[in-house]
C-alpha cells in the first residue's frame, strides 16, 4: 500500500477503530515511514484541547415549559388524517366543478336541447364550414363531406 492509503487509515488507527491485518500493516508502515509518523503526530495535535473544552458544562438553559410549548405548537399546526381527507375532497370537488363548467361551455352547441336543435345545428355547420368541411342538414341527418361533394367520403350522422 502507498503512503496515501495508509494516511486514510490514520484517524481510525488513532481512535482505536482499526484491528487485525489493517492495524498490523499500518504499524509496520509507521515503523519505517517518517512522513506518516509525523503526520500521525500532527493529527493528535489539539484534539485533547478540543475534547476538554467541548466537554465543559453547557452555558445555555432550556425553558422548563419547552416540551409542552412544542407539543402545543405541533397540535395547532397538525392536520389530522380526517381534515386532510376533507381538504382533499374539497380540492377535487372544486376541480371537478371547474372541468364540468369548461366542458359545458365548449360543448354547449352540441348539447343544446330539442327546442333549439335546429339553431345549434346551424351554428355547428358554420363552424365545420370554417374548417373546410362541408355540412348538409337533411331532416334529422347531419352529413359531413369534403368540399367537392363527391360524397364517397361523406359521413352521415343521424341525430
Amino acid at each position: 500500500m502507498s503512503c496515501k492509503k495508509y494516511q486514510g487509515l490514520l484517524v481510525a488507527y488513532l481512535d482505536n477503530e482499526l484491528s487485525g491485518r489493517e492495524k498490523d500493516e499500518l504499524e509496520r508502515h509507521l515503523a519505517q515511514c517518517t512522513d506518516c509518523r509525523a503526520l500521525a503526530q500532527k493529527l493528535t495535535r489539539g484534539i485533547q484541547i478540543f475534547k476538554t473544552l467541548g466537554q465543559a458544562e453547557m452555558t445555555s438553559e432550556l425553558s422548563p415549559y419547552l416540551p409542552e410549548r412544542i407539543a402545543a405548537q405541533v397540535m395547532e399546526k397538525r392536520f389530522t388524517p380526517r381534515s386532510w381527507r376533507a381538504r382533499l375532497g374539497l380540492a377535487f370537488g372544486t376541480l371537478a366543478l371547474l372541468i364540468g363548467l369548461t366542458f359545458g361551455y365548449v360543448l354547449r352547441p352540441y348539447l343544446a336541447g330539442p327546442s333549439d336543435t335546429r339553431d345549434s345545428l346551424s351554428l355547428t355547420a358554420i363552424r365545420f364550414q370554417s374548417e373546410g368541411i362541408g355540412v348538409d342538414i337533411e331532416g334529422d341527418h347531419f352529413i359531413l363531406h369534403s368540399r367537392d361533394k363527391k360524397g364517397v367520403n361523406g359521413i352521415d350522422l343521424k341525430l
Binding site: 490514520l10 484534539i47 484541547i49 432550556l62 412544542i70
Partner: protein, 202 residues
C-alpha cells in the same frame, strides 16, 4: 412501578395526536439535542430556538419517518443540519469578532488538559481558554460537526455514517481533514507557544 414507554410507542401515540406523547419525546431528548447544538454552534443564545425548531421539524415529518433508524438518530440528523444551517446564515465577520461576553463568566479560572499519549498536563488560564475558543470558531461548521459527533458525543464511524446519512468512507475522510484543520488552528497553542503560555500545575 409504571413502565416507561419506548420511543416506538410514543411515536405511534404522537401520530394519533397524543399531545402528552409529543411532550414526552421532547423531554426525553431535549437535553442531548441542546447539548449537540451548543457544541456545534458555540452559540448558547441560539440553543433554545434551534432545539424547538428541531423538534417541530421532526414532528411535522413524523408521518414520513422511516423506522429503519432510531428516533434519536433521526433527531440528531435534524439537529446537525439545523446547526449547520444556522451557522451558514450567520454573518462570518460577526462570528469572528463579536465576543460573547457572558461566555467568559462560565469559564473556569483554569482548565487542565492532559495529553492521552504523553500524559503531559497543561493548565489553561481563563485568557488562554478564550483565545482557544476564538481559534476554534474558525473551524468550518462541517468539520466541527463531525469532530463533535466523534470526540464529544463519542459515536463510532458507522453511527456517524447513519446520523449524517453519508458513507463510512466519507466519515473517515471528513474526520481526517477536520483533524488536519484542527491541528493547524491549534498549532500556536500546542507547539512552541505552549511552554510560555501554559503554566504547569504542581
Amino acid at each position: 412501578m409504571e413502565k416507561i414507554p419506548d420511543d416506538s410507542v410514543l411515536i405511534e401515540k404522537a401520530l394519533c395526536g397524543d399531545e402528552d406523547a409529543l411532550s414526552s419525546l421532547v423531554r426525553r431528548y431535549q437535553n442531548v439535542v441542546a447539548r449537540l447544538i451548543e457544541r456545534i454552534t458555540h452559540r448558547p443564545e441560539w440553543v433554545e430556538d434551534l432545539t424547538q425548531q428541531v423538534f417541530l421539524s421532526a414532528f411535522q415529518n413524523l408521518p414520513g419517518f422511516q423506522r429503519r433508524s432510531g428516533f434519536m438518530t433521526w433527531v440528531y440528523r435534524i439537529a446537525v443540519n439545523a446547526s449547520l444551517e444556522a451557522l451558514r446564515k450567520e454573518d462570518a465577520r460577526r462570528r469572528l469578532f463579536e465576543r460573547v461576553e457572558h461566555e467568559r463568566e462560565f469559564l473556569p479560572d483554569s482548565l487542565i488538559i492532559q495529553d492521552q499519549n504523553s500524559g503531559e498536563r497543561m493548565v489553561l488560564d481563563r485568557e488562554i481558554q478564550m483565545e482557544v475558543r476564538e481559534a476554534l470558531e474558525r473551524l468550518p461548521g462541517e468539520a466541527r460537526a463531525v469532530l463533535t459527533l466523534r470526540y464529544l458525543e463519542e459515536f463510532s464511524t458507522p453511527e456517524i455514517s447513519e446520523i449524517l446519512k453519508i458513507p463510512e468512507g466519507t466519515v473517515r475522510s471528513r474526520l481526517y481533514y477536520a483533524r488536519l484543520e484542527l491541528a493547524r488552528i491549534m498549532e500556536p497553542f500546542v507547539d512552541s507557544a505552549i511552554p510560555a503560555r501554559y503554566k504547569e500545575r504542581e
